[in-house]
Symmetry: C2
Subunit: 319 residues, 2 copies
């Protein structure tokens, strides 16, 4: 297989994930359609294993390790969804995993990663770089580093969301995806372009983390300061090299939403849909609820996950 | 049709609800199975229209009104799920509806009932009886009173949950249902007895509202003082006459759970399943999570709804 993101690579990932990842449901709501002026289909990745879409990419990536790499094990850096995803995927494949986490990370999130059987390596965010810590562990112990997004097999795994959408909602005209590092956007836009060429894919970012939107306008990767947004899964400071090459070609546009619009979308999910969506997961829904994207025809919206600390969720929905 | 609760009556309700009520999904969780030591299937009525199972019974009841009754309209008393259910069912069937609500009721709940198009009639709980207010309106204006549970067509509508379960989880050995007035329990136990005679149905009540559990032991309907429980949908002071006749025959047992166990179950749903369950809805799950019921084989648990004020939900999950 050539080293690029192709439809075949996404379909290969889909085959590997059968019976392992959940085929997440699509949800609809008459109230939502009324609010948006168009039929909306929500792809509920909050019901994915580990509570977010990240499991798809992590499992696919670990599945293509060669026997020597499997025997040696893997390392990842993440305080959140990617860490949990790598930990569970490794456990299912009987591969040992180290996850590099901030020493001041959320106790619940670190407990989840440890609960899936990974070894935690804490670092001090004030004095250490997680990339360097992970690279040093990888070199020392001969582990394979599992990148969170800038990896074709990770991207292909995330793209299986698009494969399922093509079957669950074949008549959509528009697909809204969140953009952080860009792995989900690249995977899904590849799948949608291949399977539903008539549908447009638009990326959505928090206004405070608009690195990909800015990069699209500039025509090259732009680096922004550390973003201040509640959407903690989308705090990238620049698009990935590989993801941007795909996204700049396949995304019709990248739009941004305010923090208030994200909280409104989370509260809508709580009150009307009875589902728990984390801030990053509510970003694309915020675009269509706030009017940042005008939904004309049938529109699919990816809700990327539901992992959020109880106190944070309480503060957002009850404010 | 004779005036009793039969399997035929439940199947008639199921036919009327096709394309109107949602066929709610069943959810599973590996973590839940591990915690309970048995495979658990959750029937997610929080995804039902209006956010609770009550829509099934209300729509079925309103569907069997004769033309003169339809033209005159209906009245119901409820501050919560039954009120919203009657309001939406009436709107869909183009019937006018009055809902008698406490003047001090939750603004959000009253707004929901009004939003579905019902006329609100506020009463003062300190000085008026809602039953008397509703009866007076019914007599004055020639309206049909839609009882919340002690009505065979309401019970038959709730029983369609059991019809769907028989199809979605035909291999369950045990079904756990919440018991308030007993309408859901009577409908579901009738359906399960008819379609899955090998499965047992057990009712679950908050310990603070154990009117049906006490009545089962006594062999007749027992009245208890106004219960103090967070499960506001299950605050009945005595079983219904018609519902108890069915439940005392068809329920294998009625068990109780503590308030803490209910909150734990709500938090489990939030953290692991990413769904919003109201306190009443979490009562049967609390039974299996707390060990009040030992699940030996495959067990279905009915989650009755997800309607709860944001501040209340925040207080429970973040406490």
């Amino acid at each position: 297989m050539t080293d690029e993101l192709t439809m075949e690579r996404v379909l290969g990932a889909a085959a590997r994930l059968v019976g392992v990842a959940r085929r997440t449901p699509v949800l609809t709501s008459a109230t939502l359609d009324l609010r948006c002026g168009a039929p909306i289909v929500l792809k509920a990745e909050l019901f994915q294993r580990t509570g977010s879409f990240k499991f798809r990419g992590a499992y696919n990536r670990l599945s293509v390790l060669d026997p020597a790499q499997r025997a040696a094990g893997v390392v990842a850096f993440s305080s959140g969804n990617h860490g949990a995803a790598v930990a569970l995927a490794a456990r299912l494949l009987r591969i040992s995993a180290v996850v590099v986490v901030p020493a001041n990370g959320s106790r619940a999130k670190l407990a989840a990663i440890e609960g899936y059987g990974a070894e935690l390596r804490r670092y001090d965010p004030a004095t250490e770089s997680r990339e360097e810590v992970a690279a040093a562990i990888a070199a020392d112990r001969g582990l394979t580093l599992i990148r969170p997004f800038d990896d074709y097999d990770v991207m292909a795994g995330q793209g299986t969301i698009g494969v399922e959408l093509a079957d669950q909602a074949p008549d959509v005209e528009l697909v809204l995806v969140p953009v952080g590092g860009g792995g989900l956007a690249a995977g899904v836009s590849t799948a949608i372009t291949g399977l539903m060429p008539g549908a447009a894919v638009i990326g959505v970012e928090p206004a405070a983390a608009s690195d990909t939107a800015q990069s699209m306008r500039a025509g090259h990767r732009v680096t922004i300061p550390e973003p201040d947004t509640i959407a903690d899964g989308l705090r990238a400071t620049e698009p990935g090299e590989k993801t941007f090459a795909v996204n700049s070609r396949l995304l019709k546009d990248v739009v941004t939403v305010t923090e208030d619009a994200v909280v409104d979308a989370m509260r809508f999910c709580f009150e009307r849909l009875k589902i728990v969506v984390e801030p990053s997961g509510a970003v694309p829904l915020a675009a269509v609820l706030s009017g940042a994207v005008g939904a004309a025809g049938r529109t699919a919206v990816v809700l990327l996950g539901g992992n959020i600390a109880p106190a944070d969720f309480a503060a957002y929905v009850a404010r």
